[in-house]
Symmetry: C2
Subunit: 379 residues, 2 copies
């Protein structure tokens, strides 16, 4: 496939410094994609998201297909125009959310029949329908529909699930109409089993995709096992294509995954934390709900160059949280997305400069020195 | 008193085009003050508020004295620094909110004893304490504590209430320490009774204040009666001092009050409406929750030059509201504050140009032509 360009300008160990060229712009990698579930990165304007340094966001097919609806989005000019985000968008397949609808969905070879959480209406999500919806949304990068393998899982169950995902990936590719600037990513499954991951990676490459995601992680397996999976999976991905670790993660997860050859990430952590009083700072997180911030006019992070740290003290953010004010979520989300984008920029610079090992040593030391309120929060 | 400068550059009938010079900047009048109850204009950054054209905001003494607390605010550098709003701030006296605490407050000659709605703690709000709190907050303009006269009310009750407010006003003046750039406003009471309003205005002038507010309106008396009160009250206010109509109001209220010689306004309507799906547009309001907006990519108001109208369609705003997204309130509040500030600018230009009558004719015609969803909402 030749939909999207991916060029690698430097490597440092397994880590890669690259650039994606998509229909709506370029994306420097390794890249973090803020999550814009329902056509908005929560609590942020699109200008605010771009100002943090984000060059691509993720949209959720499940939410968008139900509301405002894929057909309506297409009629209104696509998601970019609808939400006033002119830069690249990646959409997931919708599968992850559908599989979360316990008791409201039925899996078959054909796809997943489910009832909407909004109005109970029945929908059928197949590989072909997911591709069609993502085309109507207008996303630069579409993902294949896959089955979300459970956790914990036996090897037999993981194989059955992976093999279904591989058949769906082939159908997705078949249904996808290539266009310049647009791409389709396959998703490697196989849980924590090296032979399954390798088989999945090889199967996908025979079909051929614009990029390759590692799916089924960040489901409770823990960071050590996640890194193990990357160690034995990434080497089987084509080196000249982007590698995307879905739904990850904490800053330390990202640093470790970049060092293992991952180029793209998405996670709700910086945005969700921003709405629940958590700030990402050097070495960990701050819980701004804590009363000890009530008289502290120092910024969230003295080393941060974001507009929130330049203009507001912890005491004010604490006050806004106690008062239940929307501005608390707005400012903390802004800061957290800045933190994540700054982390990505520092990782890119370190790879380009061949200093990733030093960067990781410094990062780990900061994590151990610790933040005041604890280490980076869980998902 | 000589705390603040007020210069009038033009008049048109009773309407005045002026400029207030305060410690934190100048304010072109007639001016609308967005309400920043708890140290934030809800759903807005301070930069966003300033970008709408607002030059002064209102802070609520009641909320701020309870949280974060007046002493803390003073220690942290005052409200301007705390909330990152370097422009002028006017604070109310706290009385209005305290009098709303039915069953939780006791009125005496000395002041009002009340229990906090947050933790039940007992507080004593006296004229002197209100002045002290407003000094700790650091507001450019402080208001005297007054009793909120009920509605409906007999003339005897209104007189008793007004006379108490006049005694409190004198005590407030006594407690107030004049400083260059800072001012204290008296508040005319007397409900709908011309003789009481005149007596109140004359009593206040004998004491002498930097500005004069008309209080006790927008309490259910209706627009016609409010305009009647202004007709027989404003002529008794000193012509060379700013006139402030508290808690008003709808766009048509403001237009009529400006024509009657009012220079300053505050109201929660544009901000509260912004969080409840209402947009102020030429001729009336739109309810963006209405399904008929779901496929409409036109802006809220084709004649509006605000960033929301430049970048977003009604369909998107409708979608955000249905999805319960914070961005809905952020964008609608931005638009509504732009609408109000644009209205004030147009009024100022009309007074300066001697064309206020034409402006009012056009405004009334637009109101009659009507918006799609109804006339301007009630308070």
């Amino acid at each position: 496939m030749t939909g999207i360009e991916f060029s690698i300008s430097a490597t440092d160990g397994a880590a890669r410094r690259g650039r994606l060229t998509l229909a709506h712009g370029t994306v420097e990698t390794p890249a973090f994609m803020p999550v814009g579930t329902a056509g908005t990165v929560k609590a942020m304007t699109p200008e605010g998201v771009a100002a943090t340094g984000a060059e691509i966001i993720l949209g959720n097919t499940y939410h968008l297909m139900l509301r405002p609806g894929a057909g309506r989005l297409a009629t209104l000019g696509g998601l970019h125009q609808f939400m006033n985000w002119p830069k690249p968008i990646l959409t997931d397949s919708g599968g992850y959310q559908v599989f979360s609808l316990a008791g409201r969905r039925t899996l078959s070879e054909n796809g997943v029949l489910f009832r909407s959480h909004l109005d109970g209406a029945e929908h059928n999500l197949t590989p072909e329908r997911s591709i069609e919806i993502q085309r109507l949304i207008g996303s630069d990068i579409a993902m294949v529909l896959d089955e979300c393998t459970g956790w914990p899982v036996t090897e037999d169950e993981a194989r059955t699930s992976m093999e279904l995902s591989m058949r769906w990936a082939a159908r997705s590719k078949e249904a996808y109409e290539p266009r310049a600037g647009y791409g389709l990513f396959g998703i490697v499954q196989g849980s924590v089993f090296p032979n399954l991951r390798r088989e999945s990676a090889e199967t996908l490459q025979k079909t051929g995709f614009d990029g390759y995601a590692v799916g089924g992680l960040a489901v409770g397996e823990g960071q050590a096992q996640m890194f193990d999976v990357l160690d034995f999976t990434v080497p089987h991905l084509p080196a000249d294509r982007p590698h995307y670790l879905m739904g990850v993660g904490k800053p330390a997860d990202i640093v470790g995954a970049v060092a293992r050859g991952i180029d793209m990430f998405d996670c709700v952590l910086p945005t969700r934390s921003g709405r629940t009083a958590q700030a990402f700072v050097t070495g960990g997180t701050l819980n701004l709900r804590n009363a000890r911030h009530a008289d502290d006019m120092s910024p969230l992070d003295a080393t941060c160059d974001c507009p929130v740290c330049a203009q507001y003290g912890r005491a004010y953010l604490h006050h806004l949280i106690k008062a239940g004010e929307m501005l608390a979520g707005m400012l903390l989300t802004t800061h957290n997305l800045h933190y994540y984008q700054s982390l990505m920029k520092n990782l890119r610079d370190a790879i380009a400069g061949g200093t990733l090992a030093e960067f990781r040593t410094k990062f780990d030391r900061e994590q151990q020195a610790g933040p005041e309120d604890g280490h980076h929060g869980d998902h």
